[in-house]
Symmetry: C2
Subunit: 317 residues, 2 copies
């Protein structure tokens, strides 16, 4: 019996460009909102000592030849050992026989880039006509990717950043400058929200970082961090001020996204959201006026994993 | 970056004996009933064309160094192409960093043998003092394993079998004889239930195969097939006649085991069951008298996967 082909991170990275990934993830978000993706609620494992979480996402495109199972972890003490927070692998199986087709030994890279792509597409979907400044809250790996991908997609080259650790913010600014992006640093979130009308949050916070009254009209906020029950980045009351609430997946965002806090508190009806895929397809508006506050809540969906796994599999085998 | 070690089926099979597996699975069932295993509800993907299902089980032992994610599929048209119904792989990850530790390319073999071990242990747990004859309903791969493992554990060497397809039953009897086990064939299930007071069902049936009134007093039945919503092997009314109802996992058996049909129909209270692990540990009886009808409902639990994956990982690396 032959062993399952295992595709290395190098091979995966060399097989696709940022444009390829944006295209694949956009298609995935649209297919998901069109109901063409079979993806049951993801599985989750939580760890206390050390603190970590693991998400297991799986699904298939209706009529597709394969299905994908993805394991992605975040262990938040890893940087103390010089290791990245995120890790994981994806597996592709035949939807005809169940046989494993290949293992994508991507160590979480595909998850990182599909999240970066979704964040950039979400930023674009609700961005004001004039972007004063792009603000990034968080200074981790995903905060870096969000800035890089959004700057490229939106054709901007400067970001403002806030994170709790001054040393991590400095290191972040240095890394971004190496990528050719200028960084200004805000001492706190209200200051960042004064400067920026497009803001991406990507932290493991467990309570609201952005207070409703600190957000100026005309701002679009993309919330990426809350991907498990108990995580939260946005004040639930901010959703009451939002003219458009976009979600990658209704059920997931109600269950464990920032949007869910607003729904459960009765601040907005449960049907207040619009699928991000419908906005990306041009079927729904991402913003109605320059004065709108708009929000995209992202929890990460299996459809994105299917799309990038399919891309890697097609290109590498 | 080094690639994840991938352990072949051959290496896995050569690393463990039937006794090792029985020991590991018994420990897993006991640990699970003691609440020492973290294993959220499994994920499931269903396929229509061709008909198939995929279960994703995952979890870890409290305080353990690793966690395990298992993908196991059943595609029921595979035999038409000369392929086994079941397939799958297991993955071991560090519970300290999330890093993948190894991939067990077992093609579903570990799932098959841990299911065989659980079935044999379940058969032993409720077996009458005098086993008149062991009956097997089904003629697939798992029906073969159940007979082999139970015969060895219970020190018997003859089984009676029923399955719908006469040609498959004949092939089954031939294979079993090659293993040194004599087979008699029943033309229907009531006949088998006349001959046998220990019966294992292992079919993909979607409605009751065993009718409550056909079961004689003193019989122990192990139901293995119903591992997804919609599958069923036992008449719900049989649970009313049972003196002891053992389950591998309460939630799973209520949700998608045979036991759930009896609970949902209001035929037995939801708390009528005993953990199989408690019986295996000697903390609860598996039967109270020679006249009892007893049932073990098995749905397959992540704890079993953890146990056999840990065994393979320890022995092969």
């Amino acid at each position: 019996m032959t062993t399952i082909p295992i595709i290395s991170l190098d091979a995966i990275q060399n097989s696709m460009t940022r444009t390829d990934i944006l295209h694949a993830v956009k298609g995935a978000l649209i297919a998901h909102s069109d109901g063409k993706v079979i993806s049951p609620p993801p599985g989750q494992l939580l760890f206390d000592n050390p603190k970590g979480d693991c998400h297991i996402k799986y699904g298939y495109l209706q009529g597709g030849d394969t299905y994908v199972v993805k394991v992605a972890s975040g262990f938040y003490d890893n940087p103390k050992q010089g290791l990245p927070v995120n890790n994981g692998i994806m597996m592709v199986f035949s939807a005809q026989t169940g046989a494993p087709v290949c293992i994508l030994d991507d160590r979480g890279w595909l998850t990182n880039v599909r999240t970066a792509a979704a964040g950039a597409l979400a930023a674009q979907a609700g961005a004001p006509a004039q972007i004063r400044k792009l603000g990034i809250i968080g200074a981790g790996e995903q905060a870096e990717l969000q800035a890089l991908w959004s700057c490229e997609l939106l054709n901007i080259n400067t970001v403002d950043v806030f994170a709790r650790s001054p040393s991590r913010v400095k290191a972040y600014a240095k890394r971004m400058k190496e990528h050719g992006i200028d960084v200004t640093i805000s001492p706190n979130i209200p200051t960042l929200l004064q400067k920026c009308n497009l803001v991406i949050t990507t932290t493991p916070a467990n309570s609201a970082l952005i207070q409703a009254n600190d957000v100026q009209s005309g701002t679009h906020i993309v919330a990426i961090g809350a991907d498990s029950p108990g995580k939260q980045e946005l004040d639930a009351a901010l959703f009451q001020r939002a003219a458009v609430i976009m979600v990658d997946d209704h059920e997931q965002c109600v269950h464990h996204g920032d949007y869910g806090y607003a729904v459960r508190a009765g601040l907005v009806p449960e049907n207040s959201d619009t699928p991000l895929g419908a906005v990306l397809a041009g079927a729904k508006p991402g913003r109605l006026s320059d004065q709108d506050i708009t929000i995209t809540d992202l929890t990460g969906i299996a459809a994105e994993d299917l799309a990038v796994a399919g891309l890697a599999w097609n290109r590498c085998t």
